[in-house]
Symmetry: C2
Subunit: 190 residues, 2 copies
Amino acid sequence: MESLFNHIERFVKLDGKIKTQIRSISKVKILEKGTVLIKQNQANVKSTYFVVDGCIRSYYTDDNAKEHTVQFSVKDNWISDYMSLYTDERASLTIECISDVTLIEASIFDIEEIFKKFPLLETYHRSNLQMNLVKLNRRILNLLHLSANERYKLFLEYYKGLDQFALNLHIASYLGITQQSLSRIRASKV
Amino acid sequence: MESLFNHIERFVKLDGKIKTQIRSISKVKILEKGTVLIKQNQANVKSTYFVVDGCIRSYYTDDNAKEHTVQFSVKDNWISDYMSLYTDERASLTIECISDVTLIEASIFDIEEIFKKFPLLETYHRSNLQMNLVKLNRRILNLLHLSANERYKLFLEYYKGLDQFALNLHIASYLGITQQSLSRIRASKV
């Protein structure tokens, strides 16, 4: 739980009482590579996940069985299918552990309840959402105006060490390019 | 101010005292088409804007003077350069009125202060951020997996009536396609 407490304390100060409450709604899980947390099209997405160790990927599978990676989540980041979590729609994405993963799972209901008792935690969540908004705006801007080569360079800077977990297929589908293009970009760097 | 109060009341209940406080940090402005609210590369982005009437566009201009539209904001939506507002970096985007616009401007400092007095408003802001996260995730997913034609169809559904404000250039650069491609897509619909 320490890594989650440290993450929260980047934004707000926690005391013993709040930590006890956070512990009470947190499930620590150690999962094997390949574990699926949310399956595209399932109903009732109610959980969000904080990565303590390892890597989780969210992706959409289209009608031609092609995968499109929306997000990678490494240590100290939250992940879920927000399009479903915040709207009650069926899951748009599959959320899958692409390495052995230690994570903390919390339900959206418990989180909403804890905000009522400790508004401080809503401030943390709000600050975290704002940082997410920044990241997603940058991602959209990069998809719109950067070349595949430039997007790959930024990806390597931003996701340092992700190479150990992510397959070519995952990275290419995050960048919105084919695996062949990714291989060409990588080859040109040697 | 009524449209902002109504928007907030979709999420939380307001009383007279809170409304007075919101009024005290809100500047209502009536602006002409072409007014620039934030200029790419400027320092000190501190304001966010709620559109009461009209349409505002945010865009990035690249080194070749090509514009890339990140967001359109119509009635009852907030807009700013969040990449700058929440990080203190220089503006990445230009925010411009593409019609005559009535808006409410608020400073991020005043907003942070009002959250301390009225945590209810932080709940509104948090809920609004969550909905934004949903929209941005959908946009990324659409950019990754939909054809230009499909993106244009979704755009028309989502931004009903935007045609009256937005130029071909704006829409094409939002969809990440050339104006020629947009014209072809439009012609094929006739």
